[in-house]
């Protein structure tokens, strides 16, 4: 129905992209900005991944062989910061930029100039952060959670660069989320009611509100650090009447919603892909929306489960234990919905589906270890060990990252008009799937056996599992270069993709030609019940 509209518009050659570098610097086009975000996040994935490989090389055997403990701490810290703020979050924003207008039948994002700014802040923010690694005092070395007073009184001088870097990342995220909310609430095509929106849009709407609520809290935390370090205040200094534990409360009030910011859009992606390759509508659309909203609400009242060992009254411990356990309910609803969607479908196993199935299985494993971690008395034994490392990598790597990779395979033919190489895609999947499990599964064991996280060297009983884990990390890390090769090969020489791409893909983006023209839906399509979400 909208093909006609698009073809008419494609004649406007003067609306096409500018030539050369200025196209990317000054672009206000949601597709260009989406592309920038995605390439940037991939670069960050490689940098953060290199740091992970340095960590795993050092931990391959007991003893100190490649790096010194100071540098090791800088690697764990920057690996965490870069993966969270540089790889996962910008990748989801990139997907939102590419997909939201096409899914909603809008011509572009609501605030295109701000869109440009929110991207172009990022290279400077991460430039600032990464440059500290080359300074005499060394980069941030206090963990990605930067607990005071290690990150204030005892921090290297470069901590100020880190603070400004975090401020810039926060500003970028706030602008990005305002843009997304404004787009979803104002730019929907006629007939695209809220309850007809694709789930990816729904999860992003809720994520954007989470971002808007908590990024200012993070900004507050780093500003208080700045004042403690440079202006003599004592927010987090017990000797001056402050409280180091206050920092943790503020940080995790940001930090727990933050981890859902990194997983809700992933839920949305998987909820788009599974129905397509099961050739069957999503089992419970409404309950998926409500479950996402419940998870978002709960994320605000569970933060202290990251701090069970900090010394809280028993009433506090019990409250945070119960509220955390509750998250299992809406999360379970999601998993059951995906399984019921596959049930009695007509399932095929293209690469996006393989990554989505692996997502459901491995994210569920991460969710179950999360449930174990919620049980306060047992958490005392798990806290700050490799069991926690295994848990959050299971939800973030085969969780968030796999969903992003699945999304790239799923929508790449729409973006560039070319089909990727299916056998290479499957090879990439199997290498990633095996690599990720060899890396992170043994970490459950080393954690239970008592290995603390963030240590550069370890006692001898942890040696076997660390060696296995390091081997897995190298398999996983290098398979991502195959992904890079595959994407470049697709863009340069893939065979022409059809407009629909997948035989039972639903949604407005599939009504557009492949590749999607530079400007789409300049005249909004009209959406009827029949064409609404898959």
């Amino acid at each position: 129905m909208s093909e006609a509209v698009v073809e008419v518009h494609a004649d406007h050659a003067d609306h096409g992209p500018a030539k050369g570098l200025s196209r990317w610097l000054f672009t206000t086009n949601h597709k260009d900005i989406g592309t920038l975000y995605l390439w940037f996040s991939f670069l960050m994935l490689l940098i953060g991944g290199t740091m992970a490989l340095i960590i795993r090389a050092e931990l391959f055997q007991p003893g100190l062989q490649f790096v010194q403990p100071e540098f090791f701490n800088q690697m764990t810290t920057n690996h965490g910061l870069i993966m969270v703020f540089g790889a996962i979050m910008p990748a989801f924003v990139g997907l939102a930029n590419w997909l939201l207008p096409m899914m909603l039948g809008a011509p572009d994002m609501a605030l295109p100039r701000m869109n440009n700014l929110s991207f172009w802040i990022l290279p400077f923010a991460f430039g600032l952060l990464i440059s500290t690694l080359f300074m005499e005092a060394g980069g941030p070395n206090f963990g990605w959670t930067f607990y005071a007073p290690l990150s204030t009184e005892y921090a290297p001088e470069t901590v100020t660069f880190f603070i400004f870097g975090v401020h810039m990342m926060g500003a970028s995220s706030i602008m990005g989320s305002i843009n997304i909310i404004a787009t979803i609430l104002n730019m929907r095509a006629p007939g695209m009611t809220l309850m007809r929106m694709p789930l990816f849009v729904w999860t992003w709407l809720i994520t954007a509100y989470l971002l808007l609520a908590v990024m200012p809290v993070l900004a507050g935390a780093v500003t208080m650090m700045l004042f403690d370090i440079h202006f003599g205040t004592s927010f987090f200094n017990a000797a001056g009447g402050g409280d180091p534990v206050l920092f943790q409360h503020i940080f995790w009030f940001f930090g727990h919603p933050e981890v859902y910011i990194m997983i809700l859009p992933a839920f949305g992606i998987v909820s788009q892909i599974i129905p397509t390759f099961s050739r069957k509508p999503l089992f419970g659309y409404d309950s998926m929306v409500y479950a996402t909203a419940s998870i978002a609400f709960l994320s605000f009242i569970v933060w202290a489960h990251h701090m069970f060992t900090v010394g809280m009254p028993i009433a506090g411990q019990l409250f945070f234990m119960y509220s955390t356990m509750l998250i299992a309910v809406p999360t379970g609803v999601k998993v059951f919905n995906w399984v019921s969607t596959m049930w009695r479908g007509s399932i095929s196993f293209e690469t996006p589906m393989l990554f989505s199935i692996a997502f459901v299985v491995l994210f569920t494993i991460g969710g179950l270890s999360g449930l174990m971690l919620a049980i306060t008395p047992v958490d005392y034994q798990y806290h700050d060990t490799y069991f926690v490392v295994a848990h959050f990598h299971y939800v973030l790597v085969p969780g968030a990252l796999f969903s992003i990779i699945a999304a790239v395979y799923y929508w790449l033919p729409k973006w560039c008009g070319k089909m990727y190489d299916e056998s290479l895609g499957k090879l990439h999947f199997w290498l990633s799937f095996i690599g990720v499990n060899i890396t992170f599964f043994p970490q459950h064991f080393s954690g239970l056996a008592g290995m603390p996280r963030r240590i550069p060297d370890y006692a001898l009983q942890f040696a076997d599992f660390n060696m296995v884990s390091s081997i897995g990390a190298y398999i996983f890390g290098f398979s991502q270069l195959l992904f890079l090769y595959l994407v470049i090969k697709t863009i340069r020489s893939g065979r022409q993709a059809t407009d629909r791409v997948w035989e039972s893909a639903h949604g407005l983006e599939w009504t557009l030609p492949s590749p999607a023209p530079y400007h789409t839906f300049t005249t909004p399509p009209k959406i009827t019940e029949a064409e609404a979400h898959s």
Binding site: P62, E70, Y285, S340, I357, P377
Partner: protein, 382 residues
């Protein structure tokens, strides 16, 4: 595409086989059962929740994989078009809620048991430092009767792979915390600098050591033995090198040791007014240097410039004016890793280590530092 499903299976089986040879030792695989009532309750709770999770995972994945195999397009399965079922949604909301309530009951019980502080037989103050632990045995009025530092003893050569690693690599200390079995020992956990965490897995207890805060923990150990743990909160450069070793002794043996320590403490206090020979100061000083100073300034005094300055040939350790040297050792230097050792060492120890630094390696200040000089310096500045 039946090929794909075989790959799935092969992947899972292959992974299991790859891990098998490493599953040989139980202490590498699971949480220890431990030696206290609490640690056993925690272990049982852990296993209960673990098996519940395994059952849930197995059921969900079994349904999913059954569907993946039987509802394949390649096998010619036609897609049904059903969706939405309020009844199903209610069932899979309520069933998990019931399971969670079932988990919450035992969890609450164990937690309440853990919070039953008070009624203790003795109290030990546990204080974290960058990067060692200090234990102080407190009397009924919470005054320290005596105390000591507990530092890693694993030689630096083992850490840098120059010699063979010992059995308790990175889990051995000079002075273990000693406690009696069958008595309720209360720990007051705090920190002098950054946040650390004190953890002994076999006791099933862990608590953060937060500067300016006192956290309470307790344990009743049932079996004599040596129990090892590690700091579990990132605390800077040597976070991985501040283990915890607790020696649980039979009551009588503990009481004898305690009495002996009280005598030693009286002798130590006397030493503060003594004068020592240069040789005594050098021997004593070297020992203290190797415990407290080497991790930054290195055994050869060369440091790791620019972050950790060299002492060998340094002006501060050779100039005739000793006050600057006293100042930095006693009060530390804010904004750097240099700590205020005046709060960690007594005057005799400070005198020895300062004398050592002024006369070790190529340094030869040609003076002698006595405990009385330190006492004078410390009182003069107040």
């Amino acid at each position: 595409m039946p090929k794909v499903n075989k790959n799935w299976l092969q992947g899972v089986v292959g992974l299991g086989l790859a891990l098998l040879p490493f599953g040989a030792r139980a202490d590498e695989l699971n949480m220890p059962r431990g030696v206290t009532e609490i640690s056993r309750s925690v272990y049982d709770l852990h296993m209960l929740i673990f098996w519940i999770c395994v059952v849930i995972g197995t059921v969900v994945f079994a349904v999913m994989f059954w569907s993946l195999v039987n509802h394949r397009k390649a096998a010619g399965h036609e897609a049904a078009q059903f969706h939405e079922s309020t009844q199903m949604e209610i069932i899979w909301t309520l069933v998990p809620v019931l399971i969670l309530i079932g988990m919450a009951f035992p969890a609450t019980q164990v937690l309440i048991q853990m919070y039953d502080t008070g009624g203790e037989d003795m109290t030990v103050e546990v204080r974290g430092y960058q990067w060692r632990w200090q234990y102080k045995y407190l009397d009924e009025d919470y005054n320290s009767t005596f105390g000591f530092f507990s530092s890693l003893t694993t030689p630096i050569d083992q850490r840098y792979n120059r010699t063979v690693k010992g059995e308790n690599y990175l889990l051995e200390v000079d002075n273990a915390l000693r406690i009696p079995i069958n008595r309720k020992v209360r720990f007051l956990v705090t920190s002098e600098d950054v946040i650390h965490a004190w953890w002994v897995p076999d006791f099933g207890i862990k608590r953060d050591a937060v500067p300016g805060m006192l956290n309470e923990l307790w344990t009743i150990v049932e079996e004599p033995g040596i129990y090892r743990g590690q700091c579990t909160e990132l605390c800077g450069k040597d976070h991985g090198f501040m283990p915890i070793v607790v020696e649980a002794l039979p009551e009588a043996e503990y009481d004898a040791w305690y009495a002996q320590r009280l005598e030693l403490e009286a002798a130590r206090k006397k030493a503060l007014s003594q004068t020592f020979s240069a040789v005594e100061l050098m021997t004593q000083g070297e020992q203290i240097y190797n415990t407290f100073c080497t991790s930054c300034h290195m055994p050869n005094g060369k440091g790791v410039p620019p972050v950790f300055p060299a002492l060998d040939g340094a002006e501060i350790a050779t100039a005739p004016r000793r006050a600057d040297h006293f100042e930095i050792v006693v009060n530390g230097k804010t904004g750097t890793a240099m700590q205020a050792f005046g709060r960690q060492l007594d005057a005799a120890q400070l005198a020895a280590v300062i004398h050592y630094e002024r006369h070790a390696w190529s340094n030869n200040a040609g003076d002698i530092t006595q405990p009385s000089d330190i006492v004078e310096f410390m009182s003069g500045q107040q």
